[in-house]
Symmetry: C2
Subunit: 446 residues, 2 copies
Amino acid sequence: MKFLIIGGDAAGMSAASKAKRYLPDIDVTVLEQSLDVSYSACGMPYNIADPDRDIEDLVVRSADTFINKNRIRLLTGLRAQSIDRQNRQVKGRSLDGQKFEESYDKLLIATGASPEIPDVPGADLDGILPLKSLDHGRRIKEWIARKGVRHSVIVGMGYIGLEMAEALRERDIQVEMIKPGPVFLPWMTRELADAVLMELETNGVTLHTGSAITGFEPDDGRITVKTGGSDLTTDMVVVGAGVKPNSLIAEQAGLDTSVAGAISVDASLRTSDPSIFAAGDCADAVHVVTGKKCWIPLALRANRAGWAVADILAGQDVTLQGVVGTAVFKLFDLQVARTGLSLKEAEEAGFDPVETVIRTRSRAHAHKGNTAIHVSMTGDRKSGRLLGVQMVGSEGVAHRINAPAVALHCAMTVEDFFQTDLAYAPPFGPVWDPLLTAANQLLKKL
Amino acid sequence: MKFLIIGGDAAGMSAASKAKRYLPDIDVTVLEQSLDVSYSACGMPYNIADPDRDIEDLVVRSADTFINKNRIRLLTGLRAQSIDRQNRQVKGRSLDGQKFEESYDKLLIATGASPEIPDVPGADLDGILPLKSLDHGRRIKEWIARKGVRHSVIVGMGYIGLEMAEALRERDIQVEMIKPGPVFLPWMTRELADAVLMELETNGVTLHTGSAITGFEPDDGRITVKTGGSDLTTDMVVVGAGVKPNSLIAEQAGLDTSVAGAISVDASLRTSDPSIFAAGDCADAVHVVTGKKCWIPLALRANRAGWAVADILAGQDVTLQGVVGTAVFKLFDLQVARTGLSLKEAEEAGFDPVETVIRTRSRAHAHKGNTAIHVSMTGDRKSGRLLGVQMVGSEGVAHRINAPAVALHCAMTVEDFFQTDLAYAPPFGPVWDPLLTAANQLLKKL
């Protein structure tokens, strides 16, 4: 059997490795348009923060290892352009323009996502740098070094933009962030978003919300960011304005797509063509809380979906239950985490939601080093179900979010969650864990 | 209505305060044998570690506040000695020997637990100091100051003993720990217990397991601990050799007791006499994983049970689901946590358990500051259920344990737990959370 994979990142290489491990005799071929495979994309901001670290440190396993040790036919520098479902063939071109075609018995589309670039004049200028692939990371690091960057503008205020703000401040580079939308972290409860905002300001980051970018212009070796209001002149523009699924090749082949144009897959990662799977940032998933399709492109799901495809090829009966939208990021001294739905998302999903927001302590009464923890918790009036949690604090947030994440998978009520036996010791929290205090407050509103 | 409470600690004062808040007109009387109420018992080791902190900092709310602000009839220095169920009366004596009696309509026994003191000659010598009540804490601090303690022996190697080892080492006091049993942390998987042992040794703590204490003798202002082998001479002996429920008063009144002699209660905290509740360290609970009675005296359960009694008096229909045995402690640079059953406990409870033990990293590949995390996970071959988790590591353990704790409340299978959408960001863990990696390994054995 020939198992062909388009895309050699998290989902693609997870599937390739596991398939080859289970089924040593099958032909596993991976087409990767870049020259990089298997690197920690999420680690890039932390690497960029440190001028003394080699960006190649982020490579988890080299192409050579996959080829020689895992015996995967890994073809880099080949861009897949079309899928001929009738003849089970993928066609495309190499980096130097040579045409190629590869046949398949089973195909996995793991093409990932691409950064959204503002559609304005000058967006292709040198020094306007997105961050998604390892090569983007290389270019940013190289640009900072070559230009001696002292000032930067970050377009977008999502996870990547915020992590890059911290990375650049660590290198003592001035940071201004800009986004067209009026609201900072719109998915987050105001009180919590304000705590995040304050952390940015404390660390010298300037924010321009509600500022549409109308163009970029070269300015004597620097770049001017043209906006509706004041222009910003800078040494470097980092674009972290969200991503879109690389689903065009699937769409053109007539495969179904769903939310945000992501490739539609069932619980076994099958597209509308049963010979074709899709996994990773290009594919959708079921949101366990809403029961509806969603597109939340994150690393764990990509790895898990890649593995699941390999399991299925090996004859296992695997169905993925879906995601609950758990995410965490670090921002200077803060940990910011969420799982499940925000109040607004819960309303849109047809729940009758109510939210409570509390501010409590990270450690027990009278224990040194106490800091604030903000918790927002949302539940459903009709069913009593827990719907979502958001947390912000200096400690004890990143891993604490996993408890309500598990509860969401179990469709737990707020009342049952309030009864859970969570860990207590004075250095790690109050007797009533912040999550239990939030649940108790929320119960009064349900 | 007269609501009488024996015991003014976590469970008793939680019940008293909440009952008075709900039902301002009832008479809430609390009999407390000591002069202290409402203090953070678990915070004592951390306070003792710091000579500059006042032990009174641990008081959360003063007796005056309860009496004057909450209008609770709080009677300290009164030791309840018997319950006359026929006449609904509690009898006892004050600290100065005066007899008293108090009637009740509803009674709550919240007498807590007492430290186990070795039953050997000399156990009542000055300088042999248990740690359970605030007054114990006062005495230890006062003894260290007065005697200029440079060397200590800790009897017992449980949570309290270990936390005290850290506290005394912080004050640069030499620590030797001794216990009669041959195994260090017998409830813990060996690989994890070894990591804890190494942390103790690294921090200069000497351990004597399998050393029975045969007596204590005064030795020129110091104390000699007589053992089967070499004797230990020291400035102070801290006794942290476990606790026993203060259930004698209940037993003598003919109330049912269960595991370890704890007072038997139903899910609404009622004893075998429907007018009498019991809550806190003196009472038992249902273990959610085994479905059987257990006695795991910890602070969260005490507070929760106290609140539940008040809720029930106020007419609410509250039933507590029970505990899953979640616990955490800090030991120098380590966090040590558990939830659910160990392999041995699972066998004893009639499961067909299997365990996996892994060692993984606390942060993503190539992220600075990576440390080891050890995870043990136990599941049931018959049902596939998750039964328990233990973790040891320098970071990311204390709050991570709450995710499997919630899963145990939901009777989740290991397979379903492996599918949960846990948080990922490079500073906080690998893409596959250590818990998911453990679950994946365990699945191969189930």
